[in-house]
Amino acid sequence: MLGAERYGTAHNGLGDWYVQRLTAIVVALLMPLAYLLLLAVYNGALDQMQMLDLVDGYIGRMLHTLLLIALLTHAYLGVKLIVEDYVHMAALRIPMMGALLIGLAGFGIWWLSVIWAWAA
């Protein structure tokens, strides 16, 4: 990447590349918190009320929202890269990408509705 003079003929690869890394950093910072919280609940270190106190505050909901947007964007770009590398038949690749995009967007909307529907 260092010293590259041109970004290639597609002209939009750098955007994906950059967003993939930006979202990676957001996920790397927030995902361990979510996973440790899950393990603490699994272990019985936190009961349901203590866990809800941590996640249903305004800050918890905001961080969770930030995490899910970064995570789903990161997942979309990552799976897109793999599909573009290995699925050469356009008639298969394009519907796959469409299904992936709509599927992840659907999960994102559901996920947001779960987070913001918790009674405060």
Binding site: R21, A24, M31, V41, Y42, Q48, D56, V79, F107
Partner: protein, 130 residues
């Protein structure tokens, strides 16, 4: 659309797994993709767990029972291991993009660290879950 003259030989359009000799940095890269797919597939499972744990007290008890069942533990173990590996190797990739550890020897050493972290994470998480 202009017609493109294709060369008589077929050039590789993507990483050709069959022609390269297997090496640790290549395995680390492939494992990053494989764990990424596993983590993408975990998104619906995460939502299932989240709705259960934050639902009614009965939902919570049911979800905890599922998480402690054998399939639940296996899924948490597999995805947790994938997460640890993907996190460590993801940091490695970002450092590589920044121009650090690009020499062949350090590529191999850092790949070894990523894979080692994945194995260690798998063992620790396994110990925690069982």
């Amino acid at each position: 659309m202009p017609t493109v003259k294709r060369p008589s030989y077929s050039r590789p359009l993507s990483p050709r797994l069959a022609v390269y000799r297997w090496q640790l940095p290549m395995i680390a890269s492939l494992a990053h993709r494989a764990t990424g797919i596993i983590l993408a597939l975990f998104v619906p499972v995460y939502l299932f767990i989240l709705t259960g744990l934050t639902g009614s007290p009965d939902d919570f008890i049911r979800q905890m029972a599922w998480m402690h069942s054998v399939p639940g533990r296996l899924i948490l173990w597999l995805t947790g291991t994938a997460l640890i590996y993907h996190l460590v190797n993801g940091i490695r990739f970002i450092l590589l993009d920044a121009g650090w550890f690009e020499a062949r020897d350090s590529m191999r050493l850092t790949a070894r660290i990523s894979v080692g972290a994945g194995v260690l994470g798998a063992l620790l998480l396994g110990g925690f879950l069982w």
